[in-house]
Symmetry: C2
Subunit: 204 residues, 2 copies
């Protein structure tokens, strides 16, 4: 901590500095993942003292939660805006979900708690934003399924898109020349299931 | 580092100490996740000096890779042993996969690189063991699907089980009173897909 507790005279209005700190945090997330987040480094990049940053966020957990909040809000917007969502088609929302994770891998990992499991598990804001994103998914399904099947179906779709997104951003398989086509092909299976070959009548 | 470079006279034969170090690492993984791994703490728990531990593992990345290797080998065994896998049914292998992750959450997160993304991305042993586990999954599908559909179907199933396992071990949703029944219901959808309601003829 420097002797100048208030930091240098700020170039920022109050809200602007908060936004600038979040933007710097987001850049760090995409450069090095959730473990790269540091209040000192975020402040340094914005050109303010660490104490000035602590004026906006009580600590690293607090800025991590704020970053994840923005991530969930953006994800919900993307799902809501996915073409054909209103018709009950699933693939457009699934494509939008996986695309969001692939475009923001560090943010996506943070949203699901990487590096901050304890802080996030206890945070009501995260829980309520995650629920809001999930409700968008369920709303799409309500056009297609009876109410008592929506819960299981939503978990099925969330598991599929979450797993596919993480396998892709973690580089767990080679997505080949056309990753978008592969994602679309995998998501199509969520609508029709895996066929049973002639040699086996046993369904899964 | 203590002045006794070789550590106290060991209670262990060579292979036994290696196994004891891995067992201690695994306990640490389940206590605090991948970020809790530390050579010093592993050595302390086994009752040997850190240098004695470094005689078996070149460093933290090395013991993390060895732990993940055992995890992938165990997972492949569980998938192979799943009842009915030989008939081309998918649910038993899916249940075994998710059960493995739920029983060993710290190990499962490590296997997919949490805390060690860089070290694991460069390691051929991890790549080849991951492939071996994946081949067991594909072998089950080969009873059910034509060869040209197996790749997409395997990625679909892996995404679904990986995503479901992580959502569960990360506590992202409330699994209710009977988590096993919920897992089974979600996995059943992989065989039949999501039905289209009468109100919508559009498939995903």
């Amino acid at each position: 901590m420097t002797s100048n507790e208030a930091g240098p005279p700020s170039r920022y209005h109050h809200g602007d500095l908060r936004n600038a700190l979040l933007a710097a945090g987001r850049t760090l997330l995409e450069e090095g993942g959730p473990t790269a987040l540091s209040m000192r480094e975020i402040a340094r990049r914005v050109g303010v003292s660490a104490p000035a940053a602590y004026h906006h966020f009580s600590g690293l957990d607090d800025i991590a939660v704020a970053l994840a909040e923005r991530g969930f809000a953006e994800l919900a917007e993307r799902l809501q805006a996915a073409p054909s969502n209103a018709k009950g088609q699933l693939a457009p929302a699934g494509m939008a979900y996986v695309a969001f994770a692939r475009k923001n891998p560090g943010l996506y990992r943070l949203m699901f708690g990487e590096g901050f499991h304890t802080a996030f598990a206890a945070d009501d804001r995260i829980r309520s934003l995650r629920s809001a994103a999930y409700e968008v998914l369920k709303a799409g399904l309500s056009k297609r399924l009876p109410p008592d099947e929506i819960g299981t179906a939503a978990l099925f779709l969330w598991s599929l898109t979450h797993g596919l997104a993480l396998l892709m951003i973690d580089g767990q398989f080679d997505p080949g020349a056309d990753p978008d086509a592969l994602v679309a092909a995998v998501l199509r299976l969520s609508g029709k299931g895996l066929p049973t070959s002639a040699g086996s009548r046993d369904h899964a």
